[in-house]
Amino acid sequence: MKVASVPKTNLDACVCGNSNVQHQSVKLGETPKDSVSFSGVKDKATGLFKWIDKQGFFVEFLIVDTISMICPRVLVGLNRDRDKTGQYNYKAAAEEAGREILSGPSMNLIPMGILAAVSAFKPASHMNKGTLGAFAELMNKVIDKSPSLSKVSKDDLNTRLANQLFDESFGHLSFANGDKQKLKYKQTFTDLLVGSTKTTKKFFNTGAFDRNAEEFESVVTEINNKGFVKGEDKASLHANSVNLCKNEKGEPLASLTGKELYEDFHNYSKDVMSKLSELKFGSDSVKKAKDFVRDISDARIALKTTSAIAAFFAVGTFLLYLPKLYQQGKVSPAEESAKRAKAEGGTNENK
């Protein structure tokens, strides 16, 4: 069975060896009694905000910044002291526009650019700190189980890591159809996850990758829904997520949605595994490999911190030179306004 091409609804059928798939059918011309209409203002609004949510903080900020800061401030600036001078205050408006348009979005775009560049060169730095730690721990266990590392190929390493991941995160679950079902899920899980290392992620064309990531997440959801811990019978709150490793308090080191795990695995494999599989190990390969994994994890975390600080100062430098771009003339509109107010507030002097 070629796992990558199995559609979502068929997965269960394949796992249980039954090839009949049930579909809900509605006869032509018949409107189901409880049909939920998919048009309407409510749905459009929900769709729009779903999209905004997906894009993250940058789009939210852009909307807030444009509607609330740029437009009103420009309008208020235009009308500044209009009652006194009888004209639109173009100078104030131009300064407000320049300042707001240039400062707001740039504070997001510059760091985005820096981080994109860093991630392109060292993909593993895109992962969260907790995830890097969890992966390092998993790799240590994999290395322990593979004494002859020099003979292991990169694909093999990926498979072993994926297997280890499944055991750590889902090993405690039981399934209604017993261990056979669990093994089938493990196989599917591992195959899909290793598949992430084979799909390329192009810069603007991430369609295929995203689809595979979604498929992976649906498998994770199914495992979380169907699996249970003996004695407990609660529906999982976050069925689409995977918990990685546990610290001393019993809390997971990292919690990721299926899609995030898919991407992180891709990045980790690209960065760490390819280097690991190229190393030449001698007699003490286990210790060397473990040291390598630990060192590269530390290096990536340090790189995250460095790039955050670099982004911080890059934005700062830009903002420092920004006023030169938008300030027109020596007197600020605020000072001009203050002068007008003074002229109004004081009585006429004879001098």
Partner: protein, 280 residues
Amino acid sequence: MKINNVSSISNNNLTQNANLKNNNGNNNVAFKGNILKDLFSKEGLSNVLTLKRQGPMGRDLFIYNAFVFLLGTRFITSRDNNERRETLVRDVPSIILAVKGVPMFANACASQIQKMTGFAFMADPNKKSEGTASYGQLEDWYKYNKDLHSGFNGFCQRLVDQNGNLNKIFSYLNGDIKKDIKTLDKNNEFSDNKKFMNKLFDGSEESNALKGKLEELLSKDNKALKQASFLKTGSAMVGYAVTLGLLGIFIPKLNIAVTEKLNKDKEAKKQNAATAVKVS
């Protein structure tokens, strides 16, 4: 590789069953002071410096940057005291509102809406600061997956645990179900989730009939799911509206009014002093 946020599930929700803390900037704050205290604490700083996944630049890093550089440079390069004062009065609240405003107001609104309507859509019912559940999670919670090992019981219990009101949620599905629930509710006590569940799962014929209908309706796209998604959207809209109103209208007008008043007063004082000198 996309440069902006890669996670397509809402970036607010990495909370897990095992209570992993998630400091993505949705701090539980009502006052400015608390936001700043959290940000500049050791934990806040370390979270910022190891940039969490959501968004290339976390909300907190943005605030650091804005305070130090945006405000700092505007201060240094301002040409006169009036511009400096304007920077303070206008920009300090603006920065905080721009970054924290939308989630803050949205969460406050969401928790009120949840109490009023009985639909559960907060990520953590006890913690406003964790925000609303992601759209994907809502789909999980309101669409009954027959795979679920804990069955319909587990499905209902999950909604109860999230502080949902089963009576209101199920009555919303359609008119027939509403009637059925009313007929089953002989003692008018179904607003209590426990009593509702006890009756629904007691094995009697009418309970089983209702249960079957519910399972059938809930296993596809249903009105309860749409309503929950819409309520989440609604609270986000309120968050945006309040933030935009404060930022766009209130603060600039306040700023200009303060400038005018201060200078009118200053000039009036000067005039009074000059007159006093003349007279004496």
